[in-house]
Amino acid sequence: MAERTIIPFGPQHPVLPEPIHLDLVVEDEKVVEAIPSIGFIHRGLEALVEKRDFQDCVFVAERICGICSFIHGQAYCQGIEEIMGIAVPPRARYLRTIWGELSRIHSHLLWLGLMADSLGFESLFMHSWRVRERVLDVIEATTGGRVIFGSCKVGGVRRDIDAEAMKTLLERVAEVERETREITRVFINDSTVKHRLCGVGALSREDAYLLGCVGPTLRASGVAQDMRKLGYAAFNELSFEPITRSEGDCYARVAVRCDEIFQSADLIRQAAAKIPAGELAVKVTGNPNGEFFTRVEQPRGEVIYYIKGNGAKNLQRFRVRTPTFANIPALVKTLQGCDLADVPVLVLTIDPCISCTER
């Protein structure tokens, strides 16, 4: 009878970008069970919304996460706009799409770097983040902030990208695409990387769907679910298809995210070609009275915002269910039966954003 030990993983661990605690029940070197426990960075942001004016809470929503911050702000604005029946001008919708896709590119490049770091491949980690710096420079030039954009507001956007800036943006995106190809070639082709990723943490299509997975974790198992197909912002005027793979292991998730970077660059080019002239925002009067569930595709998956207002300046309820929260059951499931050395790889493969999870 093999002896069982419990090894605590996290909250401090070199491979984790944010603190999560897992109690791993280990038999020799195989993990038998994993018990998650969160709450290290719970800030209670959902309760904060009840104390401040609903228009100022865009800043609260943006600061739920540093990596996917723009799309949080966009989802919040969309929820309020649907409740109040505000029609956002087309130029603002296209600008939100462009910034959203830039956000996705930088998030995936960050994740590729962390994935390489979890394998021990530090030079690839540094190269991924080097390419990400170029994206952050583009974002800073157009919105004024590198990580927290601050460019979305209820009724539209706060800043414009004029024709000159758009040309520069497209040139930078083409540069980023070229440099990303050099990096993704290593991820997809290199034998040492494939040895660590292929066959690890396989999730069948049935399991992934019923465990409530979202985003690239779900798409890598063969289910073509992408909330951008709902047609919010300018996505109903752009053409794209969700990227899927069928193996469902870590390698498939890496491949899906690599392909999504190129898809986002293509979407930015499509949006920049079609963007109409016009105003940036409409004036917002009155208070939200009603409720709505907004669903938006973040880099990590589907985020759902439940916003409820009763006609007062402060909202009644603001509930966020972020994609990492939905992917944690899949994490617990894939950890059962894996090797101890694969635990960091598996934890990172769902792209954990714990500050989103705990708000």
Binding site: F59, S123, I183
Partner: protein, 121 residues
């Protein structure tokens, strides 16, 4: 077996200038459009206090009686909301990087005090 896929990338960067900047010897010039710190033009400010009410982090304090405008630099997020709501457009963002500081002080800007009115004869 596909090995040495990184060699091309590594060799290319072996002979190039390093991508990282030798900060603080080489300071970084902020990109045009960067937000930066909030600045106030006291000449046009009427001390109405709207900026203070709308500030998301309560970083601004306005003392109407003493004509004093105070900002906590470490609380300010440079969101720019105060610059948008100011009725006299006295506030602006100066596009400079924040300076590291050792203490949590608040900066006080004192407006010109009006002389007390002459007592009734």
């Amino acid at each position: 077996m596909s090995l040495f896929n990184m060699s091309g990338l590594t060799l290319k960067w072996l002979f190039r200038r390093p991508f990282t900047r030798r900060y603080p010897f080489e300071p970084r010039k902020p990109v045009a459009g960067f937000r930066g710190a909030v600045e106030i033009n006291l000449g046009t400010c009427i001390f109405c206090g709207i900026c203070s009410k709308r500030c998301p982090t309560q970083a601004i304090e306005v003392d109407r009686g003493n004509k004093r405008w105070t900002i906590d630099r470490l609380r300010c997020l440079s969101c720019g909301l105060c610059t948008e709501v100011c009725p006299k457009k006295s506030l602006g963002l100066n596009g400079a990087h924040g300076v590291p500081t050792m203490t949590k002080d608040r900066e006080v800007f004192q407006g010109a005090q009006t002389p007390p009115s002459a007592p009734a004869a």
